[in-house]
Structures are given as C-alpha cells and as structure tokens.
C-alpha cells in the first residue's frame, strides 16, 4: 500500500525521531524518566508502522513473524535477567543490532545485485554498514562473555597485536575499496570475515574491568551502523536516530574515561588493570603505617551516637549484593533519627550510574542520593562516613600524589568527616591498583569482611544498642 506520500512519510519519520529525542530528554530527571521511556517507545513504534506502510513491503507475514519472535525472546529476557547481569545483557543486545545491520547490508546486496545494477554509493554504504555491524557483533559478544565470566576477564596480550589490528583494519578498508570497484560478492564476504575477526582481536586484549568503556564504545558503533543503513536505504529516520545513539555511546565512553583520568586510546589499546601495573602499584606501597581495624560493634556504637551519616557505596557493594542490607540499615538509622545520605561518585562501580540503579533497586529514594559536587561540602559536617566497598573514588592521592595514575580525578572527600569506616575484605587495592592513603589516616578504620555480611551485622548490633 502506498497510503502515505514521500513528504508525509518524511514528516512522520521526523516525528518518530523527535519522540526519541524527547524520550532521552526525559532522562534528565527521575520524575520524567518513565514518561521519556514511553515517548521513545512511541517513536520506535511509529517507525515500525511507517516501515510497514512502505510501498515495497508486501511480505507482512514474514515481518510480523520476525517481530513476534523478537518480542517473545526479548521480553522474558528483560524480565528475568538479574540486574547485576545488566552490563552483559546490554552488550548482548548491542551484538544483535550489529548482526542485524550486517544482515541488512548483505541482504540488500543479494537482492539488488541480481535485480539492479548497483551504484558505487550503494556499495560503499553496504561495505561500511556490514563492517561496522559485524565488528560490533563479535566485539560485543566477547565483551559480554568476559563480563559474564564465561571467558576470563584477564586481558589476552600477544606480541604484535597492535600490528595485527592495524593490518586487519587496513585490509578491511582495502576490501571495501575492492568491493566498491568490483561489486563482487566475494569482496563483501571478505569484508564480513575481516570485520568479524577484528571485533575479537580489538576486544580480547582489553581487561575485563575495562569492559564498560568497551560496551559503551560498541553502543556508539551500533548507532553509527544504524546511521549507515539509513544512508543505504535512504531512510532519514535511521540516520537521525543512529546519530543520537552514536553520540550517546561516545559521550558515555568519554565520561567514564574522563572520570578515570585516562585517555580513551589507552583504554582501547589496553595496558591498565593488567597484572603488570597492579604489581607495580603494590610495589610502591610505603607500608610505613598499618591501617587501624575496627569491629562491627565499634561501628554500631558510633552510628548510634551520630547525627549525620554519609554512606559511600562502591564496586564492593555490587559484588556483595549488599544493597538490600544497606536499605534496612538506613531504615534502622532513620528510626533513631539519624540523617542518612548516600554519596555517589560518577564512576563508582563498573558502569555509569551503577550504584544509583542498585540503590534504586533496594528502594532507596533517589533524593537521598547525592552526586559528587553536592555532597563534597557536606562531609565536614558528617559524624560518620561508611564506605562500602569503594576505594579509588575516595582516594585522597588523587588530590595529593602528583605521580599517581588517578591524580587529578575528582574524588569524594570522605576524610573531612569526624570518623570514616571502610568496609572491605582485604588490604588489596581497588580497580586502579593504587594504594589508598585514606586507610591509614587517624580518623579512618577498616572493617574487614564481605560488605553484605558486615552491614547486616552492624544493623543487628545497632538494634541491640
């Protein structure tokens, strides 16, 4: 059916794109976020309807079957996956978009190669679409496997890997040129093969802890892949939405790298969070003073005396799944009229906003959760700061130690509080592998143990007090 003329289609596509923008804009505040999600759904739904109304589309059965299969797989997946597995799930989803973009490029080639004379412009777009899509595919799959722990998170490093990657990339560009010149299906097949291999060899040398940056980068790629298919199929809507997603992923990668004080290039080339640097960092320990230790009762006592408490959650809280225990501690403190706030560093945990989701999951109201700039002036007034499995994000060396790899990174200035307790399992350093001078300060004491365990025990002791 050709109910809509090209102009009306363009306008409605524009509307769909704007709905997606409005959707993202909704995420500027938790109160509007749900409405935003609905808007984005409407936008994508409208896009699907427009595609179905495209004059060339006739095989509705196939299309609807595909949509139904997708829904039947996707919705239960989203319902059942535990939130802790979210990074993996997001990575898996990216791989699907990447594969879809690749399939579209190849499918377009198959159809048009026999029915039309291909134009240079089209072949270029097909080559680029297939390449970006399939790099995204294997890169994301490997990232997801590393995050899930199916594949070891330790970086695989081999001699000459930078040269290999460079070689593959050059080969890919060359094959694209050959494909554009010859329009040969073999060239396209080789592009696909090279792209699949390149996705693996780029991600493999990167450590598991750096995966969030990689996932974000692949998010960006999936957007640009969508934009490339938009050029191929002359669909402005795909170009618009693809650009949105592409920019979003790029900005999130930037935010993470910036907050870690690392260059994006150094993350992608690997070389951080590896065994080598960690050993070196541990070697620099001055070891002069041992940190004080404290017991659960000490903490409970100080908390019972306190008026203002700030909790700083970190990666350890996620590992220990301690968020529900934290919530009950918060309630207990609330009953005793202690003011509790949560301080979240932009890169606490392992993905942007990680801690916020966990706290939200445990039903902790978002207006008790403060960000870096808002909370830093408040530490001085806090009686107790409870650090739960956070380390790098409260490291004063970021302000004082010029040589430290995290020097210059803005941190939570927990040390201004009257008393700081750090809950962790050992004396090991955090993600960046550097020592934390906070632990040996006079107003700080470590509480060794699993975060969930310790928090539950503190709660019990506090109730008894």
């Amino acid at each position: 059916m050709n109910l809509l003329g090209p102009d009306l289609t363009l306008m409605l596509g524009l509307l769909a794109g704007v709905l997606c923008v409005v959707g993202l804009q909704g995420l500027s505040h938790p109160t509007t976020a749900r409405r935003g999600n609905l808007c984005a759904m409407l936008g994508v739904g409208l896009a699907v309807v427009l595609a179905l109304l495209h004059p060339s589309v006739q095989a509705y059965g196939w299309v609807l079957a595909g949509l139904a299969v997708g829904a039947a797989v996707g919705i239960p997946l989203a319902r059942r996956t535990p939130l802790t597995a979210l990074p993996q799930l997001v990575a898996m989803f990216h791989s699907l978009v990447g594969l879809a973009a690749g399939l579209v490029a190849v499918g377009m080639f198959m159809r048009h190669d026999v029915l039309d004379v291909l134009q240079t412009k089209e072949t270029l777009e097909m080559g680029v679409g297939a390449a970006i899509g399939l790099i995204t595919l294997t890169g994301s799959v490997l990232a997801a496997l590393k995050l899930q722990g199916v594949v070891s998170g330790t970086p695989w490093r081999w001699v000459g890997r930078h040269w290999l990657n460079l070689g593959l990339a050059v080969g890919l560009v060359l094959m694209c040129a050959v494909f554009v010149a010859t329009h040969s299906g073999w060239a396209l097949a080789l592009i696909c093969l090279l792209a699949l291999v390149l996705g693996v060899t780029v991600v493999a040398p990167i450590g598991g802890a750096d995966m969030p940056v990689v996932v974000s980068m692949l998010n960006s790629y999936s957007g640009w892949a969508a934009a490339a298919t938009g050029f191929m199929l002359e669909q402005p809507l795909l170009v618009l939405v693809g650009a949105l997603v592409g920019v979003s992923g790029a900005i999130l990668s930037y935010v993470m790298c910036h907050a870690m004080q690392r260059s994006f290039v150094s993350v992608i080339l690997g070389g951080f969070g590896s065994a080598g640097t960690e050993a070196a960092a541990v070697g620099t320990t001055d070891g002069g003073k041992a940190p004080q230790l404290a017991g659960v009762e000490d903490v409970a006592y100080r908390l019972s005396e306190a008026e203002r408490v700030i909790v700083v959650p970190g990666y350890g809280m996620a590992v220990a799944q301690a968020q529900h225990a934290v919530k009950s501690l918060m309630v207990t403190l609330g009953e005793r009229h202690v003011e509790v706030l949560f301080a979240i560093h932009p890169v606490a945990g392992r993905m942007p906003g990680h801690m916020n989701v966990l706290l939200a999951e445990a039903d902790i109201p978002y207006d008790m959760v403060l960000e870096l700039d808002d909370v830093n002036p408040r530490f001085a007034e806090a009686d107790v700061v409870l650090i739960l499995g956070a380390n790098d994000v409260v490291n004063p060396a970021a302000q004082t130690h010029k040589g430290s790899p995290i020097y210059g990174m803005p941190v939570l200035e927990a040390w201004h509080a009257k008393q700081v307790y750090v809950v962790k399992r050992s004396h090991r350093p955090g993600y960046a592998g550097v020592d934390n001078p906070l632990f040996t300060m006079d107003n700080c004491a470590l509480v060794l143990g699993d975060a969930k365990d310790v928090v539950e025990k503190i709660g019990t002791a506090l109730k008894a007090a």
Binding site: G66, G70, F231, L238, L244, Y366, M368
Partner: protein, 129 residues
Amino acid sequence: MDASLLAWLMVVLVLGSVIGYFVVWGVTPALHTPLMAVTNAISGIVVVAAILVAGPAIVGPESCTTLACTQATGLGFWQWAARVFGFLAVALCAVNIFGGFAITARMLAMYKPRSTPAANPERKAERKA
C-alpha cells in the same frame, strides 16, 4: 536548491549528532545505566531497514523486462536468501526493541523519591533548623 538526497541525509546526520550531544549531556548521571539501556533499545530502529529487506515481493524473471537484472539464474534464490536475512534481522532488532524498553522500564520503576514522611531520615535535621 536541488541538492541530492545524500546531501540532505548528511544534514540530518549532523543536526542529529548536535541534538544527541545536547540531549545526552542533559541526562543526569544517576540515570546513565538506564540511558545505556534505552539507547540500546532505540538502536533497534534498524528494524526499519530490516523490514525493507524482508518485505519486498519476490519477482520472477519476467520482471527483468523492466528491471536491470544482471543475471537470470538464481534470481529467486538470492531474493529468498535476502528475505531470510531480512527476517532474521527483523527478529534480532525486535529482541532489542522489546527487551531494551522492557528492561529500561523495569529499572526506571525502581527510582522512587522519598515518600513516607515517617521514614524520612532528614526529619531530625529539619526539626533542628
């Protein structure tokens, strides 16, 4: 102005990127995880392209009188192959769309403001002020 379609698509790409820049920087850091999930869902917009690959009718050699067919053999085979590829792409994108929006909704449903004043832990501070 008789600019080509390609040029107009470039305009859309650039303006879309500018909009993306502004809208993403406006997202509060507390919602960066849902942001990843929702952009993931909307990148499933590739489904539009997938539908256009899966949807077209399969034409026989008789159409080659109007189309510029390059080869008469395998005409049906390649079109069917394209349709299957398109179908797979539609399904994959749909997983993304439905799954991505569902998980975003699930996450966002968890973000709640302070509600019951009884459990309000800042009460003490306010009382003092």
